[in-house]
Amino acid sequence: MNVKPNTGPRITGLILSVSSAIFCAVMLMPIIALLFESASSFFITDSNLVDNTFSDLADTVLWEYVKNSLIIVLGTLLFACLFAIAPAWWCAQYEFSGRRYLQWMMVFPLAIPAYISAYIYTDALDYAGPIQSSLRLLFGWQSPHDYWLIDIRSRWGASLMLGLALSPYIFLLLRNSFEQGSSSLSQAAQLMGASPRKIFWTIHLPLARPALAIGCTLVAMESLADYGTVQLFAISTLTTAIYDSWLVYGSLTSAAKISCLTLLFVISLVALEKNSRRKQQHFDSRGGKSNDKIKASKAKTSFIWLFCGLIFCLGFLIPLITLISYCVDYWLENINTDVLRHSQSTFFLAITAAFIATLLAIVFNSQQRFSPSTKNQTKLSLASLGYAIPGTVLAIGILIPLGQLDIWINHFIQWLGFEKVGLILSGTSFALILAFVIRFSAISNGSIQAAYKQMPTNLDAASTMLKASRFKTFYKIHLPIMRPALISAFLLVFIECVKELPASLLLRPFDFETLATYVYQFASDEQLEHAASGALLIIIVSLLPILLLSRTQRMR
């Protein structure tokens, strides 16, 4: 009769604990490696071995790079807010013809990587490009000295490109927040005589502030992490400095130090976001959920469509049409086996990484569900850490330990009397998959976590009361209910892996391209025309989550 519960699952529990400890170590590895590598240089006393790359950089151009990074982050935020706040408000608050379409059109720019837009607009605004040519033709100007046109290859140009591509983050979060804000609040304000303008500034915007802060943090992190656009525009920032330190100067230490500096910015951003999230609970009103939209006048409707249509054209339609026309013009170069080969290998990598990331998310979240503890919660938070690390920084953080491991493995194998095996960790797809899993586990984790949060815990208790084991509860109740979340977790990670550029550039094995690096190589050689089919493929894959998102929202 002396039955203690959970004797059975104890072994499973042990396996889970050990595996999650390993997982945590792997998640933390890049950051620890970066700190270690940065600190190690202080202990080298032999002056011949001292690597001066970082101090040289610090003495000369590093602060210029920091300034560039900060200006681009701020500029991107400015443009993204400009492109997102008003449309989010209109879509949430007004009813006008075509609103259903417009609210998804505003998300489409997310599918176009900023470096592709950057390339296309540089091309279009070039001296020989269609815009300058037609201006000259129209006004009879002879040389560039006769007129002034914005120089797209500048920090502001880069900010504009990034702002266009990233504004949907803010748009989505704000629209949701505006729609959730109870209409009884604005009705109360209206009855007290407030004008719509006053209601927006005094009720809705303050209530949406946490969502705005989260959106801005996302945009800031993405623009800080950007490598493709700034490199294309030849603007030196922290990310390009990391890249150059390693690939041009061959100094891993210097790359690690700049990475740590970049992480410092990331940490400040995350701290800011955490702070805003704490306030969100305070703001979270559960009042009347019904959202009665106001009918917009004809003039207002036209203005909304004009403003939003312009953003849609600039951020999505023009780049897309340009790519299609590249494809048509250079169809011979675009239809080749390279694209097929690279998409095949990219999809293989992305599927592997997405599978691992989703599996890990299921294991750790169900563990937390069955035996909730702060220890498990910490693990889950660790799993989300990777997303905050810029791709370039993460790549360096992975190269350091994997390179060292490779050296040890080769020594060991030689000691055993075999031939060297080469860089089996840092020089193969393993490094890339590891980077993808670390960076994008946050996405699969978030998706599964949200699904579990929505699932009442009483379902588990009901299952237990009906004599079901934990495994049966997981298999028969949890898995079927979260199937949509599983699919979206897998797809989202898959898509991010396909799009990922900076880490792929640094970590891809010799003579190996992902779709993104393949397209980017052509873009930086000013030959995107020849890889337009690859770019289109990336865009089509990126559109998937948007379609998925719109479908699930419509179903609700």
Partner: protein, 357 residues
């Protein structure tokens, strides 16, 4: 309990002894002790946050107490740290407040979920029986979201009863059902439980549900049981002030005030109680009549409450005009011919109930 009484008692379905449960230093259940006879329906009644749902989950094995003992039909299912039978082995049916029907399964699959030991034929038979039991024989292929709230509740009952549990636990089973339907469902379910002799504990914060559904009511306050008795006794003769206040049994007056109050009421009873304590005056035993003299008792307002009229009256505690007042409630069957602000002569036509502090 004397031996004579004991021999007449039915066998015990459940015994809780000295259950202690704390979460993060906050005590939720404090020496919780009670028992339940076979076939009896017990109501755990108490304000929200008093620990009644935790008590239910502790019996089910979904929460683990720090100490105490739980016996189920004569065998110990929990005893301090040495015995803790997992919930799935306790043979208990549980109905959740939100019913917790599995949303991705049909009604039939929901009911079959707890019947994995039966073969296909018996399983189908049991599903049919269970649905007939709750008088919804045609809903087997439906999904929970296609059912009304009342139907969902009945399916939850069918699912909980299908494995033939020895004890049924229900967590606020009627809170999501409104008025008219609720009364009929309570009557139906009570009839069903009685007919099949199923022992049951249910949790609620609404005393009307306890009156309509339970054989016995245990009033729980701050994690322990203040009084366990039949519903009428708990209401009319509360054993503590906390119970009287929660049950809204009537007007409570401290001994300190009672001398002044008693002076207003032209009735005689022994006043020589020396201990500290409270008098409980039931509203329906107060009679009101118009008085031309200043009595220090005034009518504030009268409202119609369906079965009669309720009157708020202010009783001034001494002669001066700005003396502190206490507010009492009185109930009459017919309207009274007194307007607000007028003086009242009070009379109490019964013995007030004495509550030890």
């Amino acid at each position: 309990m004397n031996s004579e009484n004991y021999s007449q008692r039915k066998p015990t379905a459940l015994e809780l002894f000295n259950i202690q449960l704390a979460i993060a230093d906050e005590s939720i259940l404090q020496s919780l002790t009670f028992d339940l006879e076979e076939g009896e329906i017990l109501c755990l009644l108490g304000p929200s946050g008093c620990g009644k749902t935790t008590a239910l989950k502790t019996i089910a094995g979904l929460s683990t107490p720090q100490s105490g003992q739980i016996d189920l039909f004569g065998s110990t299912v929990f005893s301090d740290a040495s015995i803790n039978i997992p919930p799935e082995q306790r043979s208990i049916g549980f109905i959740f407040q939100d019913y917790a029907l599995f949303p991705h399964m049909t009604v039939g699959q929901n009911i079959a979920y707890g019947l994995s030991l039966l073969n296909k034929h018996d399983k189908q038979q049991r599903i049919k029986e269970s649905l007939e039991l709750v008088e919804l024989p045609d809903l087997e292929q439906r999904y929970p979201h296609e059912l009304s709230g009342g139907q969902q509740q009945r399916i939850a009952v069918a699912r909980a009863l299908a494995p033939k549990p020895k004890l049924l636990l229900m967590d606020e089973p009627f809170s999501n059902i409104d008025g008219q339907v609720k009364r009929r469902m309570m009557a139906d379910l009570r009839h069903l439980l009685k007919e099949h002799g199923i022992s049951c504990i249910f949790v609620t914060h609404a005393k009307e549900e306890a009156f309509a559904f339970a054989d016995k009511t245990a009033v729980m306050i701050n994690g322990h049981i203040e009084q366990l008795d039949n519903p009428a006794k708990v209401f009319n003769q509360p054993s503590t002030v906390a119970v009287a206040e929660f049950m809204e049994s009537g007007n409570l007056t401290t001994l300190k005030h009672s001398q002044q109050v008693l002076d207003k009421i032209s009735h005689q009873w022994p006043r020589d109680i020396e201990n500290s304590g409270y008098w409980l005056f039931k509203p329906q035993y107060l009679t009101l009549s118009h008085s031309l003299q200043s009595t220090g008792v005034e009518l504030i307002d009268s409202t119609y409450i369906g079965r009669g009229y309720q009157h708020d009256i202010a009783i001034r505690l001494n002669k001066s005009n700005n003396a502190p007042t206490i507010i009492w409630k009185a109930e009459t069957e017919h309207p009274i011919d007194i307007t607000a602000g007028e003086n009242i002569a009070l009379e109490y036509i019964s013995e007030p109930h004495w509550l030890q502090d």
